[in-house]
């Protein structure tokens, strides 16, 4: 029983699928776009298409990249022996801001969520395991969100890596449980990185 014509309703539906956009916001954005100048709307549409076409995931760490490898993977000054595992590429930005970490990253593209049926094989965990030996990684720092999903992921990684001669640590102290890593301020996140503790399964 939509009051809108099909094209407008389709636009609202598409916008409503974006993260953080509820039905009311979708409606507001859609009506805003319809009122906007043609060239403004065209520029937005083009920016989306170009970004989607040019940007891809780093072949090694799954960070966002515009070449095969991301700038962090190609930077020879980074310490290859330390690997920080994060859920999403945006977490790398948060950790980079702290200036505390000089190693490389691995993006899982999510977290294990048993209740959603998201298991290890849906994430970039196999790709993580195959990196460790060739890159002579000595420590894996698990920087997943301090949520149940983040905890499950961290404990799973501790188990998966337990047979290897690699130290597995988790950031923790000072990061309130339940929050998203991306909202942590630099000081808190920096301290949490320095105060990481060893994980054992």
């Amino acid at each position: 029983m939509s009051a809108y014509t099909p094209p407008v309703q389709a636009l609202i539906d598409e916008l409503g699928r974006l993260p953080g956009v509820g039905p009311k916001s979708a409606q507001r954005i859609a009506l805003h776009l319809l009122k906007a100048e043609d060239h403004d709307v065209a520029r937005l549409a083009e920016a989306i298409v170009i970004a989607k076409k040019r940007v891809r995931f780093c072949e090694r760490c799954f960070n966002i990249a515009d070449e095969n490898l991301c700038p962090i993977c190609t930077d020879t000054r980074r310490e290859g022996s330390m690997l920080c595992v994060v859920e999403e590429a945006r977490d790398i930005i948060a950790i980079e801001k702290t200036g505390v970490f000089r190693g490389r990253y691995h993006v899982l593209l999510g977290a294990i969520s048993p209740m959603d049926g998201i298991g290890p094989e849906q994430l970039k965990i196999r790709e993580l395991l195959t990196r460790l030996e060739p890159e002579t990684v000595r420590e894996v720092i698990v920087c997943t969100n301090p949520t149940i999903e983040g905890d499950v992921t961290a404990m799973y990684l501790a188990r998966a890596l337990s047979t290897l001669d690699i130290k597995v640590t988790r950031i923790g102290t000072g990061l309130p449980v339940g929050g998203d890593l991306e909202y942590a301020d630099e000081l808190t996140l920096g301290r949490a990185l320095e105060g990481r503790h060893e994980l054992r399964d």
């Binding site: 509820g22 048993p114 149940i148 449980v177 942590a184």
Partner: protein, 239 residues
């Protein structure tokens, strides 16, 4: 009554907008409740740390039209013992998922709440390979789907009960048998779980028999929920 206080176990959460979450919890007096916890994904939020799945809390809620609003949370148990152990954590989540699936919003089921608190406590205190299976059987019984363990669900015979059929909801004798086989040890163990000897049953060491009971209990509850439970044995299946 616009504000109400209750105790609850957090069953699961969903992200909402930029920084909020919808928290689904099993309360003691008000049944399963969905409430918005505002700002909890900002790491400065004090509410957030207490509203993760498995947490046992005392909450003050504001009744809303569709969703309630969490206004205060006091932790009763942050489930840290569960969260430090992969197997216990996934067993706990498997129980939460079943409770979420088996119950409907705002229908008070204080006995289910108490069973859940008890089972999570048992898991934290040491655990048992039967905690999840026993909990499922007790949950089925509490919700009126107690499996028939005394006689054949088809002919009523008490002899040679060799199969368990989830469609009929219980045991079957050799001549009526349509379901998969069940061992006599598993039958005895299920009878103990539902017959008031839960503690003794939980002390049973892990064995093929405890796995059998867990498997049957899982299939039985999945039938009642009319869907597969995603959390069950995730790491056993994929390891």
């Amino acid at each position: 009554m616009t504000n109400y206080r209750d105790e609850a176990v957090v069953l699961r959460t969903y992200r909402l907008g930029e920084s909020d979450r919808i928290v689904v919890m099993m309360t003691e007096a008000n049944g399963k409740v969905r409430a918005v916890a505002k700002g909890v994904r900002k790491t400065r939020s004090r509410l957030g740390s207490r509203l993760e799945p498995l947490s046992h809390v005392s909450v003050l809620l504001h009744r809303g039209r569709e969703l309630d609003i969490v206004t205060q949370v006091e932790p009763l148990d942050t489930a840290s013992a569960l969260r430090a152990n992969l197997d216990k954590m996934t067993q706990g989540l498997a129980m939460l998922e079943a409770v979420d699936q088996m119950t409907i919003d705002r229908e008070p089921v204080p006995h289910v709440y108490r069973m859940l608190v008890g089972a999570l406590g048992a898991l934290a205190q040491g655990g048992s390979s039967l905690v999840v299976g026993a909990f499922y059987l007790k949950l089925l019984a509490a919700e009126g789907f107690e499996p028939e363990l005394a006689r054949c669900t088809s002919c009523g015979s008490g002899e040679e009960l060799v199969a368990f059929d989830v469609v009929n909801g219980g045991l079957q004798c050799r001549s009526c048998r349509t379901g998969p086989a069940i061992s006599s040890g598993a039958v005895a163990l299920m009878r103990r779980i539902l017959g008031g000897q839960l503690a003794a049953a939980l002390a049973e060491p892990e064995s093929a028999m405890t796995h059998e009971v867990t498997r049957i209990a899982t299939v039985a509850i999945e039938r009642q929920c009319d869907r597969r439970l995603k959390s069950v044995g995730m790491f056993e299946r994929h390891d």
